[in-house]
């Protein structure tokens, strides 16, 4: 093949770098516009608007149950919709289903990998999903027969190219949303294992995700090591909104009905590994690396309580479906329910 005459190539290169420069200018202009718009709308702080709201009284919350059984750090937990069962996963490679009222273990599965960083309960209560260093998300149907080997019915659903950091069923047992150290999130069909939608946009590991609470919910938020919290449209795969924070990695995200809540939460949370809102959204519970749980008044931006009990970092925290309690998992190998 003859190489093209040099002048022609030079012209092509110049054209390309002009286009590149042109695009850079446009993106800088757009970024500037966005900053301006956001500044214009930021007319007041949430806590200023909430000045007239009645303050919260004293809270007496303590550990009501301690779930012991994991042989290593508890990394993740999720509530069943029946408000009493809990699934937890650990560095020890085990996934355990508990009855949180009686503290009995109902099921236990040993995963082929250690560091099971993510687990989730299916809406029907009939299955759990989990994964971690195996880069997969697998679904285990729960059997009523205690003697049945759960691992035999295991279904591999999601495949990422790096660790699984979080997973969540959408509003049915049919679809699972995952986030991964490979920088992407993905939506999968459980039955076929087919990838339905992938979400690209994070520049580094995605550490957490949370679905919007609405019935017709089709958005979710993800947080990552790139210090961004992205809001996604599940149907199109599009990133609708992106929030940047001054903190380091976003380890946990919680969808509120309004974007402002997410945004302002990022400015008051330090060293938190996990967060969740109470049912009304007024309280925000945060599990910290200093072994405590801090309870915040979302509207006023003030802390209302500190809870002690765990003997190591709190790694996961979720409020129960009916809001009567919340559960925490810790590097001290235990889970605790608080009310």
């Amino acid at each position: 093949m003859r190489s093209p005459p040099i002048p022609e190539m030079a012209t092509q290169e110049v054209q390309l770098s002009e286009t590149l420069a042109h695009l850079k200018t446009e993106s800088d202009t757009l970024k500037g516009k966005l900053e301006e718009e956001r500044a214009k709308l930021h007319d007041v702080e949430l806590h200023q608007v909430a000045e007239k709201v009645e303050g919260l009284g004293q809270f007496v919350m303590k550990t009501r149950r301690t779930l012991k059984g994991h042989g290593n750090k508890v990394l993740c937990m999720d509530w069943c919709k029946d408000k009493r069962r809990i699934v937890s996963s650990s560095q020890d490679g085990k996934v355990i289903v508990w009855d949180a009222f009686t503290t009995n273990k109902e099921h236990a599965v040993t995963m082929p990998c250690t560091w099971v960083m993510a687990c989730a309960y299916a809406p029907s209560g009939c299955a759990v999903a989990c994964g971690g260093l195996d880069n997969k998300c697998s679904v285990y149907p729960l059997s009523l027969d205690k003697n049945e080997n759960l691992a035999a019915k295991k279904k591999s659903v999601a495949m990422h190219t790096n660790y699984l950091s979080a997973c969540s069923f959408t509003n049915s047992d049919m679809q699972i949303l995952t986030s991964s150290g490979d920088g992407t999130c993905a939506l999968w069909d459980v039955e076929s294992g087919q990838l339905l939608q992938s979400f690209h946009g994070h520049a580094a590991d995605v550490l957490c995700l949370d679905l919007a609470p609405s019935e017709t919910g089709n958005t979710f938020v993800s947080g990552g090591c790139d210090k961004k919290a992205n809001v996604w449209d599940m149907r199109s795969g599009q990133c609708i909104q992106s929030f940047e924070t001054h903190e380091s990695d976003i380890n946990n995200s919680s969808e509120a009905d309004r974007e402002v809540a997410i945004y302002s939460k990022e400015s008051i949370i330090f060293g938190v590994s996990s967060v969740d809102f109470s049912l009304s959204g007024r309280l925000l519970f945060g599990g910290y690396n200093d072994y405590t749980i801090n309870v915040w008044d979302v509207l006023k931006g003030t802390r209302v309580s500190i809870l002690f009990g765990h003997e190591n970092r709190v790694s996961t925290l979720r409020v129960s479906p009916d809001g009567t309690a919340f559960c925490t998992g810790s590097w001290d190998h235990t889970l605790r329910t608080w009310a």
């Binding site: 290169e13 390309l16 770098s17 286009t19 590149l20 695009l23 850079k24 446009e26 993106s27 757009l30 970024k31 516009k33 966005l34 718009e37 956001r38 709308l41 930021h42 007319d43 007041v44 702080e45 949430l46 608007v49 909430a50 709201v53 919260l56 919350m61 009501r64 149950r65 009493r84 949180a100 009222f101 946009g201 599009q238 990133c239 609708i240 909104q241 992106s242 509120a256 009905d257 309004r258 974007e259 402002v260 809540a261 109470s278 049912l279 009304s280 959204g281 007024r282 309280l283 979302v298 509207l299 409020v319 009916d322 809001g323 009567t324 309690a325 919340f326 329910t337 009310a339």
Partner: protein, 68 residues
Amino acid sequence: MSTNNNIAQARKLVEQLRIEAGIERIKVSKAAADLMSYCEQHARSDPLLVGVPTSENPFKDKKPCIIL
């Protein structure tokens, strides 16, 4: 050519920024007011906020269970 990759990336970024710029936004004061009214409306049905009588909360048991 790496310039082509850079262009593809730059195009994606511009597209993304255009989408974000086009989103409807409301003032923080309005969003804050919405948040406050949401919290107020649901406050009464928030057990962790208002507290639930010990007898009704399965996690708070007064008497220890006896297994017969």
